[in-house]
Symmetry: C2
Subunit: 187 residues, 2 copies
């Protein structure tokens, strides 16, 4: 029994490579890398934050909409959007107006300044997507999205249900809605 108080490089390496196959521990790193890379692209494209970019992009594509709509499209919590918007108003990118028809809602819309900021970032972000397409074939992206769909379905299931013994029908629930255009991946 060697000295417990010192590192064992061999075991550390072994642990590392075992963890390579742990989906749960891979996800944070992959997402973090995506976020960091996105932020760097945006820095080049005028200095928007990720949230600002997503919001300007959505508003540009769709036109005016509510905070909830933005949250739904971005698959995120409305509070995140709610908190991010005031500073965007201050920067002159957007306007926020209480809806006259439904006094609960706030209609968010793009201003010319916001449009300008969007136009500056957009080509850079388009190049980002193009570079992804350069590294992944269409089928690979389809497959990746298929797996992300399936994984997201799984991840949205409550632990109570997953911890329950008789969950024989779970796999079906997870497959359901997962993208149907699924092509055999290369080799």
């Amino acid at each position: 029994m060697s000295n417990r108080k010192s590192r064992d490089e061999e075991r550390i390496r072994a642990r590392q490579s075992r963890e390579d196959y742990n989906v749960f521990s891979r996800l944070p790193a992959v997402y973090a890398a995506s976020r960091r890379q996105g932020q760097r692209f945006l820095e080049i494209g005028g200095g928007l934050s990720i949230l600002e970019w997503r919001t300007l992009w959505d508003l540009h594509e769709v036109g005016a909409m509510t905070i909830r709509d933005l949250a739904t499209i971005q698959r995120t919590d409305h509070s995140l959007i709610s908190r991010a918007l005031p500073s965007m108003v201050q920067k002159g990118y957007i306007t926020m107006e209480r809806d006259t028809k439904d006094g609960r809602q706030t209609i968010v819309d793009l201003t010319p300044i916001g449009q300008e900021a969007y136009a500056k970032a957009a080509p850079i972000m388009a190049q980002r997507r193009a570079s992804l397409k350069n590294c992944f074939s269409d089928d690979e992206i389809k497959n990746l999205v298929y797996y992300l769909d399936k994984l997201e379905n799984y991840l949205r299931i409550s632990p109570d249900i997953l911890l329950d013994e008789n969950h024989a029908n779970l796999p079906d629930a997870v497959n359901e809605r997962a993208s149907s255009n699924f092509k055999e991946p290369i080799e």
Copy 2:
């Protein structure tokens, strides 16, 4: 030319489904779902935070190691670990000792209390991994990890390089190191 200041549900839905195929916008949601689900499992398994769980698990599997080792295994920044450890010492889960051989390093080790906390959470977390295996075949997990590998390779490439015109050899760089055990996915 309808009223620009009101929502267009049709376009919102269209935007949503287009974004389904945007890998960059899917990742945050998938990761967020994973984190949330993990936190719920941990709540059931004794109330550890995700960071605490990962750290106790690593220490249990590997034995004593440094902060950098933990950060490497967890594929995260050392500062995150560095900040999380003091409260774990306070809770009695771990010890931190300056390494006598290398005065820069801190050796982190499990205490009996930490071992106990680990033992309480471990079966729940094992059930979580089992439930994933129930929903995904071995080959599917291999493929998923293959794509995550490949995606992470891509995401670690600097925007400068990706924005450069002549990146014909990029796809190779992205494929390199991506898991070799790649099996044809089902159907």
